[in-house]
């Protein structure tokens, strides 16, 4: 493992993928998910759609039991900038892109309005995040690099 990488960065990096010829698709319980549950694919798709992930820390939750929950993402209210992606975010490209846009909007809300205001106005914050993801997805998919 390179000295300048954490284990998690190494696990998700192209360096490891090249070194062990890691499979390019999900396996086992996750095999129905079209997008590989790896950060490098998240970064690749974000780049295709011109979504800026600077200042965002992505964590992928790989618990199999989470497949039966229909949640795709969450934003950390205390470590602002951290986004957790759940298995169902990887169902297809649209779900992943919309989840990234949605959670990025929450990060913006937390930075702009502060945690207390966001906590007290959850419904309004979610309405804003859903509007944002719809508008941005429709715009960005037309311009996405293929």
């Amino acid at each position: 493992m390179p000295e300048n990488m954490t284990y998690e960065e190494w696990f998700d990096s192209d360096v490891l993928a090249r070194s062990i010829s890691r499979k390019e698709a999900n396996t086992g319980a996750f095999s129905n998910l079209k997008i590989p549950m790896q950060k490098r694919y998240v970064r690749r798709i974000a780049e295709q759609y011109n979504i800026d992930l600077s200042g965002i820390t992505i964590k992928i939750q790989r618990s199999e039991s989470m497949l039966s929950l229909t949640m795709t993402g969450s934003t950390d209210y205390n470590n602002i900038g951290r986004i957790d992606l759940f298995p169902n975010a990887f169902i297809d490209e649209e779900q992943l892109v919309k989840t990234l846009l949605h959670e990025k909007r929450h990060v913006w809300q937390l930075k702009t309005y502060g945690k207390k205001y966001v906590e007290e106005n959850l419904n309004r914050m979610e309405e804003g995040a859903y509007s944002f993801e719809d508008e941005q997805y429709n715009l960005l998919k037309k311009r996405a690099k293929k």
Binding site: M66, S68, M71, G73, D84, T99, E103, E120, E126, E127
Partner: protein, 76 residues
């Protein structure tokens, strides 16, 4: 993620389990729908003893039984 076991419990047996902050059994969870057409919304898992909570920000709400008003004075 402090609330991961609670999410796993909900996935397995629809019970939210012990609070990861104070250890109380008095936890609950629920969902709220934002877009009735797509049934997309948000949810929370919370503790009724210490009021700490986890926010689920993007979810397709299929669990009819747990669509409910999410308390307002929670600490996320």
């Amino acid at each position: 993620m402090k609330w991961l076991k609670n999410l796993e419990n909900i996935a397995k047996n629809h019970k939210s389990g012990l609070c990861p902050i104070c250890g109380s059994k008095e936890t609950d969870f629920g969902y709220s729908i934002i877009d009735p057409k797509s049934r997309m919304g948000y949810g929370a898992v919370w503790c009724n003893s210490c009021r700490h909570a986890f926010h689920i920000s993007r979810v397709e709400v299929k669990d009819e039984k747990h669509i409910k008003e999410i308390p307002h004075n929670l600490i996320y």
